[in-house]
Homo-oligomer: 227 residues x 2
DNA sequence: ACCGGATTTATAACAGTGTTATAGCTATGT
DNA sequence: ACATAGCTATAACACTGTTATAAATCCGGT
């Protein structure tokens, strides 16, 4: 309700152009990867000059970082769209499949998200005096991780996972597994789409079983046998 | 014993320069990633002109492909260096750790290996009339995969894994998991090196448990509890 | 041993790229 | 209405990979 938030016409135009640049850049990204983004072509596409990218994003790197953040937002949206199944284990499985769907349908965005050559965006940086290691980026507090954590906590609450388990570590374990599968699939390491899908099911199922308590295991095998 | 294999002095020189180019390129690769490889700088470093890259590799893409193949060779060497533990389960675990060590010590080579933007090298292409999907690259017959397959088959033989299991699928499952962990770690998605290491142990252990038979599970838990 | 054809090389030009300095314009605030 | 601050367009700079061309080199057959 503060009166200072009224958008001046100039600021309005700035934001419009900013979004136009981002839209065109994401289109170029999806068309041929990050290397296909040319500032010159981007500028002519939007109808301005390359300087606009520098005033809006500080350069090409800033533009890529903005795309990076949008990629995570899209993933978060996709994860939130997964209905909360009353069975936490099935909810988890559905979150995994939704993650794969997102990766396969947005390969360029996905590749951008997990590229190591990117500077750590402020949104994911956890403030800590940097050691000698490469910059660390934490995903734990990002909205795209919340549903995963919720599902895991629900599993713990119902006894399907160990009561003394750390949800963050389990979430990381699931994330790493599902990401590894998507990464290999996107890189083309599979004989066929069916083989990749089967591999996904087997691997995600295995890590799931490995994380469950005997009680949860019994439940889970009831689910899988029912199919 | 065929006499046609004697290397002429000219061919000898060609190969020497080819290796010199590869060495210098790998150095540039490790220093700043694939984008840090400049043909001009590479040529001056080796003491020739950029044309040498075109005659030897057909261009920059061919050079990168050669580096790609060397990366897989190095990984195969690292995997072969793992001693064959009499306990197949422990052998598998050691292969996983060796894989991680390789990835962490050769981040540039590793990133190259699993980059999706690379043309499928002939060494990994399985001949099949390409469908509409992106080109598929198979790793199954590569030397770097052999030890993994051997260890899995040993697990099956001793009853630690299901007799009707497909070793190729299990190998893919383990590979995807370990690769996912390394990929996230190299991308900087971890709070600390210790956290990344713990995550690796938890996740690799979980997928391992999920792949074992009850008999194998009992054995495996005997190993983990002994520590 | 030599010489002719093929191959590899170096040089330079071409078409791109991201970035930056500069000068002009536009739009805002007084 | 004016002065000023910010943004933009233009052009130049330093790069990049690739290619055409001409000179040099190497190789095999006589």
């Amino acid at each position: 309700m503060s009166a200072e938030e009224k958008t001046s016409p100039a600021e309005n135009r700035r934001n419009a152009q900013r979004e136009a640049l981002l839209d065109a850049a994401s289109e170029m990204l999806m068309h041929g990867g990050p290397d296909a983004i040319s500032l010159r072509k981007l500028a002519t596409k939007v109808g301005t000059s390359t300087m606009a990218v520098y005033t809006a994003f500080g350069g090409k790197e800033g533009l890529i970082t903005a795309l990076f953040e949008e990629a995570f937002d899209r993933l978060a949206t996709a994860q939130r769209a997964v209905p909360r199944d009353p069975e936490p284990i099935l909810w988890l499985a559905n979150l995994s499949r939704a993650y794969r769907d997102f990766a396969l349908k947005n390969p360029s965005y996905y590749a951008l998200m997990i590229s190591a050559t990117l500077p750590v965006p402020a949104a994911l940086r956890h403030d800590e005096p940097a050691s000698n290691e490469p910059a660390a980026r934490s995903i734990a507090r990002h909205p795209s991780y919340q549903n995963l954590l919720d599902a895991i906590e629900a599993c713990i609450a119902e006894g399907s996972m160990a009561a003394d388990a750390d949800p963050a570590i389990i979430a990381d374990a699931l994330w790493a597994t599902v990401h590894g599968l998507c990464s290999l699939e996107l890189a083309g390491f599979h004989l066929s789409a069916e083989a990749a899908e089967k591999r996904f099911g087997v691997t995600a199922g295995a890590v799931m079983r490995g994380l469950l308590t005997p009680k949860g295991l019994k439940k889970y095998e009831g689910f899988t046998r029912r199919r």
